[in-house]
Symmetry: D2
Subunit: 335 residues, 4 copies
């Protein structure tokens, strides 16, 4: 297989970003088609990025024998169904997170994938951030000894629209799900129990929509280490994404990159840039790297490093956090 | 009152440090006497620092009419009793933390202080660290808006001897007590409930002594903000003392100072100093500043900014943490 | 003009980089053709990047009526001639630095450009680095008041092959030429005189080839400020590119970006990444931004911010530095 | 000798600082007497710091048999004479820089010291700064290989009064003299030639007083390395004291320490402290360390690491810089 022929399903912001990366930066891939329920969007992207085929119905892509793999960036509620159909059609699958908010649907999708024997990679892009990846590798090779404490900070620059909050599944399934995956990734260990606290401090409208905007989860790893994750829907200074792993032989941490290296010494202060604005800026390299991994896995016939089970466990953790918040006590994660 | 005449009770490491500061760096004070149950220690310090009087029994100092104030640095189990006696003798009191491990004894000491109308300052030195103080002042004046999240990291470079661990009252009363005070200080707010987790990850001998060495406490402030404190008895890279307060308008944080500003660019890495070794190095300025505050409070007849109630509440928080660890659930702080 | 049609002349490392950027990242451009005296290189690049035309002779591109502009990345000794011919053919020109090592040839090229009324942009990529650009803008808008001192550090990770050193024109024309341009750019002022020192400290073979590998130039601006530039052909820790502008109201500086934000606290040190390896890594964004500027200038019919005169003056400064090194005294720059 | 008995001559700002350090922080020393031509100053300091003897005439101290050593902090024009007399009186000598502005007088003082066989330490305090000291030690032990480039930045927060400028000897002898010493210290090598440029950019009144306020010196070491020193009389952001040594195997640098470790993330910027205000704040530890060294040298009968010759050479470099500025060419340093 010289080039992997790709169909992209859903070309909103993130779908378009993946299409552009696949088209222009990944030599091993060729985007043959895009599909979007808003047909006009599909046509616009196809025209702009010179993609031969633009469709309204993703099934047309699944029926196209030339297409080897699909990249699913449609709305969350459609992921599981499309995964099952794509698997049956023998297409390899890259799917944005989460696979579904319903665990049964996730199981069905995973079963379909297994049955078809195709590759499934879930879009936990942060695993491919060069800094987080290096941190994880240092932990893996024992640089900090046995891990004792993990700290993950994840704060958005501003909350999503209330209309989105209402259907998002809540902060734990929509936002902290990335951090749950990061927590597992960094130590290559499962979390055995967790405890969530939080409230609505940023915007009362989020509370009225039944969600919270500020949360802390404390978690315990199977290896005995403890972790905390803190989330806020609004950090006025930009996207705040930091981690720290502390162990018996040291500590490895990752701070926020900044747009420039400029420092101003004024009569009053020392001033440097604030962090990058949001995920599109911060995870630019990560989005590209995850797609390169997906294409390489197909070409080399190996399993993606982040698959269906990872997609499922992060959702399970989200539900456990929701349950914990209500009960005000620890919730065990059973698998 | 031109100079405040001081008697220091207990001249172990910290007592000697205070004596030296009072003698050499604080122009408003004059150390008249030192006392220590190890009389030889008292004599050595007196001789070395040119203090006129060295006694075995602290009561001799309390009876000395020339002495205006005492600095209590004896072992924890003697603090409350000495406070009561010193108060009755009309001496102003600086007392190392904790006042006592027994809340009744703390109450008795506070009552004696109130009755005598003298000043009592408790040795929460970290409040006087220039960085933490500036952070707190920024929060007070609204630089970060309404606080939403507080994070305190406090890790020692190595555990104390097991013999000490056994009588220390445990990690929450011996070590995290400083962080409980810091938590209250930073927001100038009370904590209404907290939840502790932790285990023995550093040294099994600490576990055998009935204590843990790694702990995380999640806490809720009366104003609605959430906080986390993490403690470890052993950070191989030195004393790790950081804070972060995140709010609606920004974030203020304090990192670890380093011994030098040297940076090495090698063929392999960029290398800088590790943090200062331990509290003596890190809080040198803070120890001096708290004593200056004490002397100024006496001279200007005003209440110390950190008094008996602060000493009591931090111990209450320690007990709440202990209780929470056992129950695995939140514990409310009742006052 | 919807898209600017481009022909790239010379597709070695930097030519290929520009072709890739133009093809994949700059929506306003379309690469119609590439040419290289090594025809096979042209064909390979054309095939790999899906460029319709691959030629051995650049003149074929100049004759192609569909081509609006050429990007000249051939060897330095061919630049001036190709500029003249391209200008006569009415093509807009982006040319890698230097235009030529011979000032007369530079003048002829500039004259041809003026006569033809086409755009010429010279490849001083560093002007488009986001950090340097921001620093310059801060200086322009008066953030640091009147500039007094400028410091530019520019050190390569390793020397070029001796075969290249021999034909390079020497460190001042090959390497420091970028810093001469940076010096002018940062203050938007001309340098009126300069003084060069230097010697061969890195590799005796460079000395045997008649060049030096370590140099410092002190320069005076027309506005009265002083500057220093230091160059080394070998910084074992990677590409070291820093600037500092100090003025009456403050100082603005730019440090080296690093590949990741990872920090390791070990029992021995605090360790972070070394700088990026070399110009390809460091100036990735700058290479793209300069090409975007070129395309925009054509589309909007405005002069590029860095043109023929900038190309000429930097070469004049290189010759002045050479002369100064020999005379061991200041050399005035006459224009 | 249990304690070294000290007499301090001249108790202006720096003399008082040394007296305080000797009295309170250096256990091996005892300040017996202070002298000052303003007798009232001597009496005030003596009273405040509890020094037994206060004199107007320093000769009284030289005649005092109990005094082992003197610390000379009087005005520069008196240094050489007092050194000679103190040496004849058999007193060890710590003298603030410069020994004199007249090289003959320096030679006479050095001769007197040699003849008397007493210790002379010159007050180049920066050598004792923990960061610069560590940098120098790293260079000494080969961490950066063979040194190629040295960069020293030294900028004051504000110019001295014009009355002082007039008698100061000029920027090279008054201010850069410290950097000349630093240049020699860092590589443990002599400078063989130097070239100075500079002008009056900060305040025309400094120019009218016959001095400049902004200067750059380029220098060559005997080992082949090159160095630059830049000075400004006014950095609005505080005392700017940085160094960098670049060599065949890496680079070691020292930045400015800051008063606190506080970082503010605001909606606009990331803000940290500006550097410490001036030498008193920046070199607090260095002033103490140099005095400790002096006392130890006396007690252990060894030569101070910075003696009369260091004092002389730095003045020679100052004159060479003055000469170079006039001639606009390099000046060789002959010894």
């Amino acid at each position: 297989m010289e080039k992997v022929n790709i169909g992209v399903i859903g070309v909103g912001r993130i779908g378009k970003l993946h299409t552009r990366n696949l088209k222009y930066q990944i030599s091993g891939a060729k985007v043959l088609a895009v599909a979007d329920i808003f047909e006009e969007s599909a046509q616009q992207v196809a025209s702009q990025l010179e993609i031969p085929i633009a469709e309204k119905d993703y099934r047309t892509l699944l029926e196209n024998k030339d297409i080897d793999a699909v990249v699913i960036c449609s709305s969350t509620d459609t992921h599981a169904q499309i995964i099952s159909e794509a698997a049956q059609a023998g297409k390899h699958i890259f799917c944005e997170k989460p696979i579904a908010l319903d665990l049964d649907k996730i199981d069905q999708a995973i079963t379909a994938v297994k049955k078809a024997g195709i590759k499934l990679q879930v879009g936990f892009n942060r695993r491919f951030d060069p800094s987080f990846k290096k941190a994880k590798e240092l932990v893996s090779k024992g640089t900090i000894g046995t891990p004792h404490l993990v700290r993950i900070t994840s704060r958005d620059p501003e909350p999503p629209p209330i209309s989105y909050v209402k259907v998002s599944g809540g902060i734990f399934l929509d936002m902290m799900i990335h951090d749950f995956d990061m927590a597992r990734y960094l130590l290559d260990q499962e979390v055995v129990e967790l405890m969530a606290v939080g409230s609505c401090l940023v915007d009362p409208a989020i509370g009225e929509a039944g969600d919270i905007d500020t949360a802390i989860v404390t978690l315990k790893y199977e290896g005995g280490a403890w972790g905390t994750i803190d989330n806020s829907r609004k950090a006025v200074y930009g996207y705040d994404q930091r981690i720290e792993i502390f162990g018996s032989e040291g500590c490895v941490s990752v701070g926020n990159p900044r747009p420039t290296e400029v420092i101003i010494n004024s009569a009053k202060d020392t001033i440097s840039d604030k962090p990058l604005y949001f995920f599109i800026e911060r995870y630019q390299e990560a989005y590209l790297a995850e797609m390169e991994e997906f294409i390489q896995c197909i070409k080399e016939d190996r399993e993606p490093s982040v698959g269906g089970l990872d997609g499922k466990i992060s959702v399970q953790m989200g539900y456990a956090a929701k349950e914990s918040l209500g009960k005000r006590s620890f919730v065990k994660l059973i698998r």
